[in-house]
Symmetry: C2
């Protein structure tokens, strides 16, 4: 059985039209299944960062705000991310952390739907915690009520009292993919606005924010977009909402004429309205460079490979790992699966530690979840097979 | 006259105990007087950034959150900045832009002084605009009123209606230094909280936040602290306020146990409570490296040199520049002067363009202000003399 899965892995890798992308990344022989937490380093990024530091900062200094395009980086890089989430240009701006963008998006959405009888901000009860914490603050500061609801229960929880719903596209813990088109339609049906968190989907599967009528969205860039540790997040504001979008963080970068330095605030048009303060250029331009690996890559191919990879990994786990020692939390249905596999497992912290020591890097979600992210740009089928084999060895009853 | 000022410059440089620091920076023969906008590159920073990118991100990847100290960087770097502003450890945290930190500080201060009869947030009417825009948003979201007041009028404008006053330590346009000790005392006398913006003073002169009883403060790190373009800002929350500090941006990084990933928010103790989302590591660790140039440097010596430099520059301008062609907006009194000289001048945009072409880099504040920043770590007296000489040549009536 082992030989046959290894042989199948080799054949799948040989037939993989994306396999050539792996050489664009600085990777060793580690099986890196944590790209859903921190994407790997694209090999050309160090040279670009060195140029930003040495020439743009060190030699041109202040002139780089114009000459090196620093000032316009947030919207320029936003337009690089836009096609990856199905957005036309002019609707995405990069900057700040995901948490700060959740605040902008939720407060902004409440203000776009300001009917006082709409008292509720509904938040995904299974969300990555920061969205819930920030949405709670947004509710408190806009005089609304926070209502946590599991995504499955969302349609029945929505109603004329709902102002805004904030939902995660993919559950960070289980890898479950929520049905963005139908949930967005249900949110609109209730007269509410849909704010989506794309942290665990952008770069792994098609999102289609424009096509499905999403109102606002946020996402990080350090997972499947490989922007580097803590690289800036992004905010999507659908064009139809931009003129009325009223940011709670109207910093000088979102002013219509920032260098006039006038006392009265007047918001810029377009996605720029989502900017706040001076952009963190080193992190931002590392991200810009990292996005080059997407040139010519179709998100549909990425999605197809992602599903094939997670299918194959689950098959290998089923074949290799002692029965009953792990339980998959990740839906078997493709339509419900993101680009990760989450396995519940006794003694998970010690198991993950052993996996990492043996060159298979996933991560842990306390108390008992092993999380394996599959980044189709640089993870192959042989990686999936090896990860399952090492996991099986770690979990074998005779292992010390 | 010219020869004697040039000779004096040489003597002053020879006697300057900080002169040796210039070699720590990547500088050419440009006279760089824009360090109050973007500090010069410390020469060792590119190597450190390359290590962060290649080894920490590229090789260790996710392990660097622990092994390379990424997770604790915001408070660790905060403690490096603390002595530069006169703060004991544990009160400064780095992250986000200045604008975002102004929001945390002003909303936080209102919540610390939550008596509803205190209806007013007073903001420096001469502030760098973003502080005013953000304070306006903070006022709107906390049900307070924004009252712009010039710093000189502050004492008479304060009263039982004042909740918070947000003041700039140094005026970004004129270089005027406001009297932080006496204004803080007046704000406290009125029963209000003092929030200071230190963008144009930290790293140029002693601040003494602890000693003068400042309540909260914010500052950027890319001016006199040389952290690089858009490097993260910092937030100071005095220890006595930390237990009650209630951030409007309670992201997961400010949770007491972020990796428990629980739905309920419980704030961490100490300065960490000012964190929000995942820190932008590349920009943050470039800043950390840049702070090394301060090792063993006393802020008092920096201040003494700064005043000597701006005195000498004004003297050279007086001697060289055609009478009546420029007017200094910068106070002659040392107690009222920051570390820059602002000259009002006809046709200022064209003049600054010519200066830059001739290797003297200052900047422009529209419509008619030439701004020259003096960074004592790397600007010398010969630079000041040359800048005045080039300015004189540009302004000479016979210049084309």
């Amino acid at each position: 059985m082992s030989e046959s899965l290894a042989a199948r892995a080799a054949a799948l890798d040989a037939a993989d039209e994306l396999a050539g992308l792996r050489k664009l990344f600085a990777l060793d022989d580690t099986v890196y299944l944590d790209g859903n937490s921190l994407g790997a380093l694209p090999a050309h990024v160090p040279g670009r960062v060195a140029d930003v530091v040495n020439r743009q900062w060190g030699e041109l200094r202040i002139r780089s705000w114009d000459e090196s395009g620093w000032w316009t980086a947030p919207e320029r890089i936003g337009d690089r991310i836009a096609p990856l989430i199905g957005a036309a240009p002019g609707q995405v701006v990069v900057g700040d952390s995901t948490s700060v963008n959740v605040f902008k998006a939720v407060v902004g959405a409440v203000r776009l739907n300001a009917d006082e009888s709409r008292t509720d901000i509904v938040v995904d009860a299974t969300t990555f915690p920061t969205d819930g914490y920030i949405a709670e603050s947004a509710a408190r500061m806009t005089g609304r009520r926070l209502v946590p609801v599991a995504p499955a229960d969302l349609p029945s929880a929505l109603g004329p009292q709902t102002a805004v719903a904030l939902v995660n596209h993919v559950d960070y813990r289980t890898g479950r993919l929520h049905d963005l088109p139908s949930l967005t339609a249900a949110i609109h049906e209730a007269g509410a606005l849909a704010v989506w968190d794309l942290c665990h989907s952008a770069g792994a599967l098609p999102v289609g924010v424009d096509g499905h009528g999403v109102d606002l969205a946020v996402g990080c860039t350090y997972k499947y977009l490989n922007g580097g540790p803590g690289s800036p997040a992004y905010l999507y504001v659908a064009e139809r909402h931009q003129q009325a979008f009223d940011s709670p963080l109207p910093g000088w970068n979102s002013h219509v004429d920032p260098f006039a330095m006038t006392g009265g605030f007047a918001a810029a048009d377009g996605a720029i309205r989502g900017r706040v303060g001076t952009p963190d250029i080193l992190s931002m331009l590392a991200l810009e460079a990292a996005l080059d690996v997407w040139d010519g890559v179709s998100v549909d191919s990425v999605r197809a490979k992602s599903l094939a990879l997670t299918d194959f990994f689950l098959e290998c786990v089923e074949a290799y790992v002692p029965r009953g020692s792990v339980t998959s939390l990740t839906p078997a249905e493709h339509a419900e699966r993101g680009s990760q596999v989450a396995l519940r497992c006794a003694d998970a912290p010690a198991v993950m530690e052993k996996l990492i020591k043996q060159g298979v890097v996933g991560d842990l979600r306390r108390p008992d979840v092993l999380r394996f992210g599959f980044t189709p740009l640089y993870v192959g089928f042989a990686d999936a097979e090896r990860a399952a084999a090492v996991l099986a060895a770690v979990l074998a009853p005779d292992t010390a």
